[in-house]
Symmetry: C2
Subunit: 389 residues, 2 copies
């Protein structure tokens, strides 16, 4: 069963916010438990800064001077700034030098805010192993009139490596505390290109799963990277619609209806963009699809802000300004980008929910018009009932 290989996979996690640190913890637990596959040490690239230990850390002592974040992590085994209170395995190694952290890694995990990716590309280009594989934990896609670009695709292109994605109904702090949840890893060992040297254990689905799966963090590995990434982005548009109807006091059945219609439009959008790759089941059966959509539509930030906008009778942008402390609402950008694209390809009629959200954001319709706007749903009759999309 456990064949031995001359070389072991080395992992580097690029990013050390709460989500990056959490994933480093998960992976470091697994590299220890699977010594025939992985080198135990997990390099975690940390953007170096001087940090004062906060009162929420168990290492807080009054009057301690600021120290380097990497030293704190490596000495205390706690990311006192971004994940205070969580004990990290000692084999999580904080490293302030991105090139040295990534140089020997056969598996690179990207887990940092997407606005920092440009600088990561500039630093790492040509410096990684030529056969390294990436997995992006960054949600989001960018949609323009030219088309739709996945973050995993962009990483792959910029660094010349294959890159999969991790996406699911996940909140970093819950996973860090080992509250149970599920996720989806989308990864298909690439055919052709720079092959993984035979000295390494193969990156089969089973082995990829062993890198992420924990008793408190259940993983399913699928092949559909595009579907997983789209689900993580489009859910925010649906969550706005769910928030609008909840704000009107229409109850959970109306929210459930928005989720249902939104799920169908997600699938259709995916099929339109990436015909061959995207699978319906990625949306309807996986954590990155239906489960992440549900969580976002009952408790997510986009949902809550949209609900508040309707309850207060103000624009969503106003809620974003007053409630989010300078942060931006992902769904707003995605909704506008998606609608602009759909108009440019004249597919508005097939996406009544996505278009309705854009209309409401633009002040051209009100939340209460949603049912009438959805009447135009071409799925409703059109003889398709129970045929596949």
């Amino acid at each position: 069963m456990s064949q031995t290989y001359p070389r072991l996979h080395r992992i580097c996690v690029i990013g050390s916010g709460n989500w990056g640190t959490t994933i480093a913890k998960v992976i470091a637990e697994n590299t220890r438990e699977n010594p025939t596959l992985f080198h135990p040490d997990v390099q975690m690239w940390v953007y170096e800064e001087q940090v004062t230990i906060p009162t929420t850390s168990r290492h807080y002592r009054p009057g301690t001077p600021p120290q380097k974040l990497t030293s704190l992590i490596n000495n205390l085994h706690e990311n006192v700034k971004y994940l205070p209170g969580i004990i990290l395995p000692e084999n999580v190694i904080a490293n302030p030098d991105l090139i040295s952290a990534a140089r020997e890694a056969s598996i690179l995990i990207f887990n940092l805010p997407h606005q920092f990716l440009g600088s990561v590309y500039r630093t790492l280009r040509g410096k990684t192993l030529p056969y390294a594989r990436g997995i992006s934990c960054i949600k989001g896609v960018s949609v323009s009139e030219q088309g739709c670009e996945l973050i995993s695709e962009a990483i792959g292109k910029e660094l010349g490596i294959y890159c999969g994605a991790l996406s699911g109904a996940n909140i970093a702090s819950e996973i860090a505390e080992e509250k149970w949840s599920e996720t989806t890893v989308a990864y298909a060992e690439p055919q052709g290109g720079e092959g993984l040297p035979k000295e390494y254990p193969p990156l089969s689905r089973e082995n990829v799963k062993r890198l992420f799966h924990r008793p408190y963090f259940h993983v399913r590995v699928i092949a559909d990277v595009a579907g997983a990434s789209l689900g993580g982005a489009l859910k925010n548009v649906v969550a706005l619609a769910a928030g609008f109807v909840d704000g009107l006091g229409w109850g959970s059945n109306a929210v459930a209806a928005m989720i249902r219609v939104g799920l169908l439009e997600e699938v259709k959008f995916g099929k339109y963009f990436f015909e061959k790759e995207v699978k319906t089941e990625t949306f309807t059966e996986e954590s990155c699809g239906v489960a992440d959509l549900i969580t976002s539509c009952i408790n997510g930030r986009n949902f809550r802000c949209a609900r508040l906008a309707v309850q207060r009778g103000v624009e969503l942008k106003e809620v974003e300004r007053t409630e989010l402390n300078g942060q931006s609402l992902q769904g707003l950008t995605t909704a506008v980008e998606v609608a602009r694209f759909l108009r440019s390809v004249k597919k508005e009629k097939e996406f009544p929910l996505f278009m309705a959200v854009d209309k409401i954001l633009a002040g051209k319709a009100e939340a209460k018009d949603l049912p009438a706007l959805l009447e135009g749903d071409v799925n409703t009759l059109s003889g398709r009932g129970n045929s596949s999309l």
Copy 2:
């Protein structure tokens, strides 16, 4: 477009509780608007009783003596006992005589508590039009070691008619108040058997939709009666699991995971029982499937009771006894029936969630064991990722 036919469909709604009366209202609005298809009058069979107008009715006057419920409905156009405060169209005709209400109906709508069905069968057998079609709004299936019987099937068999089903994420009072929601009507005009006479408009999907669809009540018509009925029953088992993890304080991601796994087991169960008939999309795309499941798992009665049981550290039966005022918790019965059946056909391993709920109910496991019990999910690895079920 609007061809004329020598005969019009006459509708009889059997049942006049809050859900029966609400459906009679919906249908009566539609029969008026579609005079080339339907006779405007909607007969509603009412179990006759003497009723005092409650204070919640706009017809309440102090000191008014009790009157017959049918007279109250026909004079006041309000079901003052079971749906007070809602104005009914004048073409809803309350009738205390089941045979006279149903005799001329080409479409019979069954909408009453299932324990009264036996008496309806005895009264109506041989008294309906031989080509009458039924639609059951009663949720639930009965599972025994011999198999699984749908209520729509039982009605069809007992009365010798074809019977479809209406099932969705619906709460009667919300639809009565014209808050927006969606539903699914499962109906496929039968081939062979007693054909509908050519004098009637055909019962195409479009025409069936016209009977139920309203601006505030969106309908999709599908063919899969078994899938629609199973969804409405199995969701209660999943809602118990969702309530258990929510009671542990694991957050909405854990609830979403239960919904996701439950949805897959619903599909698998359906395929196992009714291989040819049941369609995956009925569960993953329709209101009777994913939407009804979501509503039940975030706000349904089974969910709330299961959560309370975990929070209080008592058995679910205890919560049922203390909180439900003598009513029973549907999920309890269904969970036990389903698990007993799965054991008898030795399929336990393929349904880890359904089996886990039964184990917890039997006191053989605790809510916190759910993740470990789901580790046995054969879908998790087994090389299927993104293949269809």
